[in-house]
């Protein structure tokens, strides 16, 4: 039984929508025994001052992540495609609303 007590509750990542019209943004993580408790804990830990109108919690082990390192080859394909940015195109200054 001791073994079970000592086993940690799973880790959850918490995302909060600050107000209507905004994305949910990652704010941190917490431990909880299940999804419902994770939501309750998230409310107490991350929204004590009206920081949000909606909360998502998701178990950390359910997230598939790239490496955050900017040198990761995963992001290389976008590194050399400057034509994806509006500033790549020069438009004469006398053309309005562009």
């Amino acid at each position: 039984m001791t073994g079970e007590v000592r086993a940690e509750w799973p880790l959850y990542e918490v995302f909060v929508r600050g107000k209507r019209g905004l994305n949910h943004v990652h704010v941190g993580s917490l431990h909880a025994p299940d999804d419902a408790m994770a939501l309750r804990h998230a409310r107490d830990v991350y929204t004590r001052r009206n920081e949000g109108v909606s909360i998502w919690v998701v178990r950390s082990d359910a997230i598939t992540a790239s490496s955050p390192d900017e040198k990761d080859p995963l992001f290389a394909p976008s590194g050399d495609k400057v034509y994806r940015h509006p500033t790549f195109y020069s438009i004469p200054a006398n053309v309005p609303h562009m």
């Binding site: 940690e8 509750w9 490496s67």
Partner: protein, 313 residues
């Protein structure tokens, strides 16, 4: 197994990230000593928040009005929240929450020595908000730009909330200073007890702080202990004047040449004694935390059992 060549490449990438004042994130490669330094510092910080609930929690049931009780409850709840943000940041470095709690209880990891002093009067609730949280803010604002991403993000959240802590404390003391002679004496007596321990919160002097140079090179710390202590003294003197209390230091005086306040020698023997475990409340604080951990075991167990049952259904 990482080869020596790979490791050199990883290390130079790490150093370049630090040099750019860019942040290190949990899955990045980092030197083992950087990781250990962060675990020690963030865990100590987290433990301080958790132990820090006790001195003020002492007064919740005896707060003089419902308004003061609600404020104090909110503040102590914030300290719990701050501890949780910081434990989460520590866990991204590969330590578990259980290990952290065990290291606090065994004494392997420390917490701020300030929480080993008792809260003898209700004025201490105000003094802790004003001086102790004021000193904490001084320490923490620069940490918002620390090089380890999760630590910096936790500090940003904490700093937003600490401002309420300091202001409620100062307002509490102002209210008492407008009261009777007895209440004014309580405030002064409380400030007399907390002033020097508050200065000790910034840690040992720079020439006795072996970790500072490396921590600054890694961007974990951006100011030395003595720099922050000086900043705190300079900020606090005019606040004490406005409040009408005397800071208990005969050597405290404005130095025109330095454009800063001179102040007296801190009793470093007392500091090391309290850090070493021999302060007025060290044993009591850890025993209380240990009891709360043991007493809560059945709740953690019941919640886990319920979750397993739901999953099976």
């Amino acid at each position: 197994m990482t080869s020596a060549v790979d490791e050199a490449g990883l290390e130079s990438h790490f150093e370049a990230t630090i040099a750019h004042k860019d942040r290190i994130e949990p899955r990045d490669w980092m030197p083992e000593k950087y990781r250990r330094t962060l675990v020690r510092q963030i865990a100590q910080h987290a433990h301080s928040e958790i132990i820090g609930m006790q001195p003020e929690g002492n007064w919740i049931s005896r707060a003089p009005s419902l308004r003061r009780k609600a404020i104090l409850l909110a503040k102590v709840q914030d300290e719990a929240g701050h501890g949780l943000y910081l434990y989460s940041a520590t866990e991204t470095l590969g330590v578990t929450r259980t290990e952290l709690t065990e290291r606090l209880i065994s004494g392997a990891q420390k917490y701020s020595s300030i929480f080993n002093y008792p809260t003898l009067s209700y004025a201490d609730v105000g003094t802790i908000g004003w001086l102790v949280d004021g000193a904490a803010i001084c320490n923490q604002v620069p940490l918002c730009r620390t090089s380890f991403g999760p630590y910096g993000r936790a500090m940003i959240r904490i700093c937003k909330e600490e401002s309420f802590h300091q202001r409620q404390g100062y307002e509490l003391l102002m209210t008492m200073m407008r009261g009777t002679d007895e209440q004014r004496a309580m405030v002064q007596e409380s400030v007399d007890r907390f002033w020097w321990p508050s200065l000790m919160m910034f840690g040992p002097p720079d020439d006795a702080s072996p970790n500072t140079a490396q921590s600054m090179a890694w961007g974990i710390k951006t100011h030395t202990n003595d720099e922050l202590r000086q900043r705190f003294v300079d900020m606090t003197v005019p606040q004490a004047e406005a409040l009408g209390v005397t800071l208990p230091d005969p050597d405290l005086a404005w130095n025109e040449r330095r454009q800063a306040h001179d102040f007296g020698e801190i009793d470093w023997d007392e500091f090391w004694r309290v850090v070493g475990g021999d302060g007025p409340c060290n044993a009591q604080r850890v025993a209380h935390r240990s009891k709360a951990w043991d007493d809560g075991a059945w709740v953690r167990e019941a919640a886990s059992a319920f979750a397993r049952k739901q999953e099976a259904a």
